[in-house]
Structures are given as C-alpha cells and as structure tokens.
C-alpha cells in the first residue's frame, strides 16, 4: 500500500464544486489512491473495505451510502470510520471512491 500515487490521472477528470467526481464510471482504484494522497490519507485494507462497500452501494442504489449505512450494513464501527477518514467519513470516503456527494441529509 505504499506505492507512489500518480497525480496526473486526476487532471483529466471532471469534478463538482465540492471536489466530487462527476462521472463515477471513470473511477479506478489508482484514481482512488491518488485522491486519497491529495487528501493526505494513506489507504489501508480497512479504508478499502469502506471504499469497496461505498462503490457497491452506489451500483445498487444509485447514491453514495450514508454514515449509518456504512456502519450498520457495511459493518465498520462509527468510531473507526472517524479514525479512518477524519473530518467527515461519509463525504471523504465518497470522494475517494469517485462517487457524488452523499445526499443523506435533506
């Protein structure tokens, strides 16, 4: 997990105003790695468990999962989510996973 990220792959992508990728299908794990590096997060196996879960949820439901869903359905304890993605786990995980901003709140 210590491979050096290739930032150049981020340059050709489109993002919304908050820095979320606009085309989730353009995402690759290498892009995820590069976005995480920009956000100063070193991805471990636990991070990938969350990212993979978020991707799978997006394919099934068309939106990034809420924090509760990642925790209750994805099985990653809430506290650990905050340790893995400090600041806002649902948003940051979605960003790294190349998904639109979670719309959990209305």
């Amino acid at each position: 997990m210590t491979k050096v990220a290739d930032f150049s792959i981020l340059e050709t992508l489109d993002y919304d105003d908050d820095g979320f990728m606009t085309d989730a299908s353009a995402w690759t794990p290498e892009i995820g790695e590069a976005i995480a590096t920009v956000l100063e997060i070193g991805l471990t196996e636990r991070h990938w468990a969350v990212i993979d879960f978020a991707r799978k949820e997006f394919v099934e439901n068309g939106e990034a999962p809420t924090l509760r869903k990642i925790s209750k359905v994805g099985g990653v304890p809430m506290k650990e989510l905050y340790d893995l993605f400090p600041g806002g786990p649902a948003k940051i995980a979605a960003k790294i996973a190349g998904l639109p901003k979670p719309t959990g709140c209305i």
């Binding site: 506290k79 600041g87 709140c105 209305i106």
Partner: protein, 413 residues
C-alpha cells in the same frame, strides 16, 4: 369486493382515506384504515408547547372525527405486513386482512436509545425531546423554573421530521428567555451533523445569519457519539466535547418497527420508494405517503400534502391498469417561526433550493420568502386551523402540488 388498506391514520393516511372515499365506488371497493392510537396529534404544534404558546390540549383531537363514515377504522397494532401475499396481520384480529392496494403511512418516530447514554440518567431531568407531546410538555415544565445556564440543542442524525424545527426551537427559545428576563444568563448552542444551519445552501447562509444575530452559537458537522449524563457532556465521534446544563435533543428518527419486522425498510426502517411516483420500489400495489418512505424530500406534513394528489392519481391509474405518472417533485413549503411574532417562509423541491421572493403570487405575496415578516408568522398560526379543517379532510388548499417558480427571485452568478 376489493380492498384498499391504509396503514396509519396520521396526516398522510387520513388525507388518503378522505380523498379515496370520495373517489372509489363503494359498491366495488372497501376502504380500511388501521392505526394503533385513537388520538390525532397536530405534530407541528409540539414546537410551541415548551414555551406555553400552545397547551397540550391545543394539539390533540380524536382520530375518529376526521374519518368518513364509509371508511372502516380499526384501532390495533400491526403485527406484520406480508406484501408478497397481499395481506397484513393485526394483533387484534385472528385472520389477516387481504388487500388489493396498500397505502403505507406509518410515519417515523424518535429513537433516543440509538445514541449511547441519551435515554439514561438525565432523560427528562435535564435532557428533553420536543418531538413527542410528552417530551414537549415536560420540557415546558422544566423551562418554567429554569434560571439559566448553557442550553445545547443537538440533532443526532439526519434525516429528521421537519428539518426547520430545530431552528424554530432555537428562535423561540431566544425569544422566550428574553421574555423571562434571563436571556443574558442563557448560552445557546446548536450542534448539528449538517455543515451549516440548514440542508440547502442559500437558506443555510441566510438562516445562519439569523442564528448569529440572535447570539446562538453553531457547532456544525457535529455527529454525536455519546451522552455522559453524569458529567453533563455530549461527545462527538471526532471527540468534540460540549458541556450542557440543559440538553434538548432531536434523537435519531426512524420508520415504524412494523416496517423492520416486515423486512420492508432500509437501515432506518424507511421504505424504498420511487421518489416521483410514490410507488414502492419492490411491490407494484404498495404506495407510500409522508415520512414512512425514503424519498429525499423533507419529512413534513406539507410534503405529505403535496404528495397526496400524485399518490391518489397514481393509485387510481393503477386500479384502472395504467402505469403511474412521475409527477411528485419533492415540493416542500415551511413556515419557520423566528420569534417575536415573526416568521420566515421557504418553498422548495428536489431540484430548486429555497429562494427569496413572494408566495404564492409574484410581487404581491402575501407571504415573503426567505425573509422575516409578521404576516408569515400569522400564516403559521392560521395553519393549525387549516390543518384540522381543510388539509386532513383532503380538501383543496389554494396552492399547487408542484412547486412554481413564479414569484421567486433567481440571481445569475
């Protein structure tokens, strides 16, 4: 004889029962409405109870008063919904009720036990909710003799019923403490998982200014992890601690337990619902109105009202063998009490965030959008009468179900 079964006789279920009882041929159709509780609560009124603006009596009436005679009303707990078998089991009946069409209006409720320590030692001592009549009444008793200190309002988790209610509570509390002559002895803190005062950016900025003007401190992006009621501290997942003397909580809101028992809900027991047709995503003859579903609109009575026309039309189309129309646009319309006999009005949908302007008539109003006015306040107060006398009976309110851009001011970037 065919059966339309409606589960839940709150705002949504009562409106559907009234409307469908006028539209269905009673020689062909039987309408059955089920609820566990004989009392209808005017939930928007709970907000006013802690401040003695409404008494508990002002917000309750017998459900029976609002149900037409040709609807069979059953008071019972619902044991389980079996949508694959088109039947529902009630605890008060030995045989299940078979249905041809099912409308689910079982709503949502607070679940204090979802936050560690919230429902423990301090519950209803110096920790209160105002989303139940009991909580709002007990909070009112507490406030009568409170001498001041730090009041923290915490929203545990989104989504919640009526996302403007926390703001209204803060504005009314600010006013109340002024009237009591103790505003200078009360520190008000608003901690919310949202990044700002409200869910939509432009309204959030304007409402955030109101908080600042009223001296209310906003603690944003705050996801509560636990309550330590021994030390009177709340702690977030990112380890921010806030001391409180009085904690007013809006606990996690979840759909009814029967939805979970029936395996029909998501992780918050909300039923996956097509956000434009209001049909269940899984069962063609199941329809969802109000906050029982997972559509990304506000969980509020005004939204249930705007859903009504679309749901009723689609239900009739389904009965006649036509596909449902994708007509619901997420329209919400909220009066926000801002204290000192003033109010703010916002009007929005799935795609258009709340904008300034006038409503419902361009340039005239009489209501002003995203701006404080006394007229907006009286609109809110008059709404209780409208609710009991017009809305619940499924009668027409003179604004359209779909949001209109007329009167809204759109700024170019």
């Amino acid at each position: 004889m065919k059966t339309l079964l409606i589960l839940g006789a709150g705002t949504g279920g009562t409106m559907v029962a009234n409307k469908m009882s006028q539209l269905l041929d009673t020689r062909e159709w039987k309408i059955i409405l089920v609820d566990k509780d004989e009392t209808h609560y005017y939930q928007p009124g709970f907000l006013f109870v802690p401040f003695n603006i409404y008494t508990p009596n002002d917000v309750v009436k017998p459900k029976r008063n609002f149900i037409p005679k040709n609807v069979e009303l059953i008071f019972s707990d619902i044991e389980v919904i079996e949508p694959d078998k088109n039947q529902v089991k009630l605890s008060k009946r030995t045989s299940p009720i078979r249905y041809d069409q099912l409308v689910i209006a079982t709503g949502s409720d607070i679940r204090p036990e979802e936050v560690e320590g919230l429902a423990n030692g301090g519950w209803q001592k110096n920790i209160f909710d105002f989303y139940t009549l009991d909580g709002a009444t007990k909070l009112g008793e507490f406030l009568k003799t409170w001498k001041g200190g730090r009041m923290v309002l915490n929203v545990a988790e989104m989504p919640i019923k009526c996302p403007v209610a926390p703001l209204e509570f803060l504005f009314l509390a600010d006013w109340f403490f002024h009237e009591q002559g103790i505003r200078d002895k009360v520190e008000i803190v608003y901690s919310t998982p949202l990044p700002g005062a409200f869910t939509k950016p432009r309204a959030s900025a304007i409402l955030g200014d109101f908080l600042e003007q009223k001296g209310i401190h906003l603690e944003a992006d705050y996801n509560i992890m636990e309550v330590d009621s021994g030390k009177n501290i709340i702690r977030s997942y990112d380890e921010r601690e806030i001391n409180y003397d009085l904690l007013v909580t809006i606990p996690t809101n979840m759909g009814a337990e029967v939805i979970e028992r029936s395996g029909m809900g998501d992780e918050l027991n909300f039923i996956p619902t097509n956000k434009h047709t209001l049909q269940s995503k899984k069962w063609e003859n199941v329809w969802i109105i109000g906050d029982a579903g997972n559509v990304p609109a506000s969980k509020a009575g005004s939204v249930a009202h705007f859903m009504l026309d679309v749901l009723v039309e689609n239900l009739q189309r389904a009965i006649e063998g036509h596909a449902p129309l994708p007509e619901f646009d997420g329209h919400a319309n909220c009066f926000i009490e801002s204290g000192f006999n003033k109010g703010i009005l916002i009007d929005f949908n799935y795609d258009v965030e709340p904008l300034p302007g006038t409503y419902p008539i361009p340039a005239f109003g009489p209501f002003s959008l995203l701006k404080e006015s006394t007229f907006n306040h009286w609109g809110k107060m008059a709404f209780r009468w409208m609710y009991w006398n017009i809305l619940l009976k499924g009668r027409k309110i003179p604004v359209s179900s779909q949001m209109s851009m007329a009167g809204k001011l759109v700024y170019e970037n």
